[in-house]
Amino acid sequence: MLKLSLKKLDELFAAMAQSQALYIPADNGGQAQYLRWAPGMKMTAALNTVRSAKDFFFPQTEGLVNFKMTGKTIEVIDPRTEAEDFVVFGVRACDARSFSILDKVFLVDPVDTYYQNRREHGTIVTMACRQPEETCFCTSFGIDPTHPEGDAVCWMTDDALYFEAVTPKGEALKEKIASLFEESDDAAVKAQQAETKAVLDRLPLHTFTAEPLGGDVLMKVFDSPSWKSLSEACLGCGTCTFVCPTCQCYDVRDFDTGNGIQRFRCWDSCMYSDFTLMAHGNSRNSQVERFRQRFMHKLVYFPANNDGEYGCVGCGRCLAKCPISMNIVKVAKCLEGELK
């Protein structure tokens, strides 16, 4: 394990940023978000960013293809510029797991080459959690916030940063920065992990589980009368879907440039009224149906199709941000209560 005094954190960032873009969670307008590092930028004290780290691989808007018309010929242009190599530093365990969930969507046949391209260029350096919030429930999905996944993992104590490379990408990064570090044992890391685990046991949602849903009870859950009251106050906004690290739905739209088309995709939300609007009409005409879809997808359909893996990582963003404070935990608890 490598160790670095926190006094040298700026040097570390400079070294990482030397050969590729570096993004760190920093404060902007009172909100934490990933920003491209520049000398002088400090890491946020917030536990996590408001927008998740999925933006790096699945940005909110992205050009897919351009068509340019000259007379009777149509030129097809690939608007992609080769993505640069980049490092995302300070990703939390929940967001790190979200990448493997998104991979199951975008990297299966047919592979989404836009996503794949970014994924290949990105190195993920994760940061173990020390002070989880009451909204955290990643452990419910088998995630260990004291030892996140990632190309490399870090632990931050009061005075030092500990670094461990995990994948070949992580090893490659380690080579570039190793000279700043000293070798160290893992005693401080072990102590911190034990301390954090004690807090995890005290989290209000630490016993939460989505396991009773799904499987044989799928239709029973789908037909539950509770969807109506659960969704009654839903505003139909896209906050939960847009701050969610695993929501992956998008729309493909054409922008008419006057002499051609720019075809782009942008995040879409199953909470929006025109999400399922098709030529024949709309298959989900009420907010109850739209609301149900979001939670069924994460808690029932996704695990059914992906060897039991849930479409939720317990980051707690939707708990914190929903304008009416309705969320996946309340929904799951209510439905599970009915099954008992």
Partner: protein, 324 residues
Amino acid sequence: MQGMMIARAGELLENGTVTRVLGWQTGEFVYDITPAVFESAEELEKGFVYNSFCGNNLSKYLIQASRKEGKILVFLKPCDTYSFNQLIKEHRIVRENVYIIGIPCDGKTDGEFLKAKGVKGILGIREEGDNFVVDTLYGEKTIAREDALPERCRNCKSKKHMVYDELMGEEGEVLDSHRFDMVEKLEAMTPDERFAFWRSQLSRCIRCNACRNVCPACSCEKCVFDNPQSGIAQKAAADSFEENMFHIIRAFHVAGRCTDCGECSRVCPQNIPLHLLNRKFIKDIDTFYGEYQAGEDTESRAPLTNYTQEDVEPSIVYTRGGNN
């Protein structure tokens, strides 16, 4: 107050005055409160709550709720009564299907706001005099109530209910607030400074539409931005121009109708002070057409939908110069 509300709501359900009650429901934590409809005394006992976290303005829900069969009881804070009146003026709520109980409000905070003040891991909160004592995973924290309230409550415009069928607690007064102070600061900036301010704010927008969907003045059946037939439907802002224009167009659309309830800024997940756009319009309307508060009544003609010979001419834009 909560106990009185539950008891009275139970009575009104019992004697058939109303068939449903619109209020607030407890959540997983002390602060995550959801607007909810209650249909029985048991439901009220189980989940009804009224405390310092009941910030949601319930008036907009009445657009749908008042169209259903039977009468609904709603609890409205002073702030929410302005929205209610404005929606009545716009013929969006069926008045006879609503029974209003006006309730007092000492300002509402929320979990996110407390966290922005550096409180982590909230487990419980109790109100002790002028303080919030927050029990957290990392020890106890005390915050002065004044510091724990968002801007809209620190600059509360009124403790007085504009409409009600009955009142609980003491009726308050319309207040002299400092709600235009920040607008004045923005007006004093150079155009470039002001542009930079708004770009830094609006560039964070993720177009979740929470501001629009929560806004009682945004009551169109179908928003142009959601309507594929409109030609300007937009799911995501493609560039900074679209990012700016969504909010500016929305502010124009609610100008003269916005009651300044502040829900837009409360719900913004990106902490954008959207209410400042609306307050600029309110302040300008006050200046050019005389003091006007949307939602104060249900009958008067609003400045922007009325004509008087004293109305300013369009040339006011030039006379004021580019810096206002």
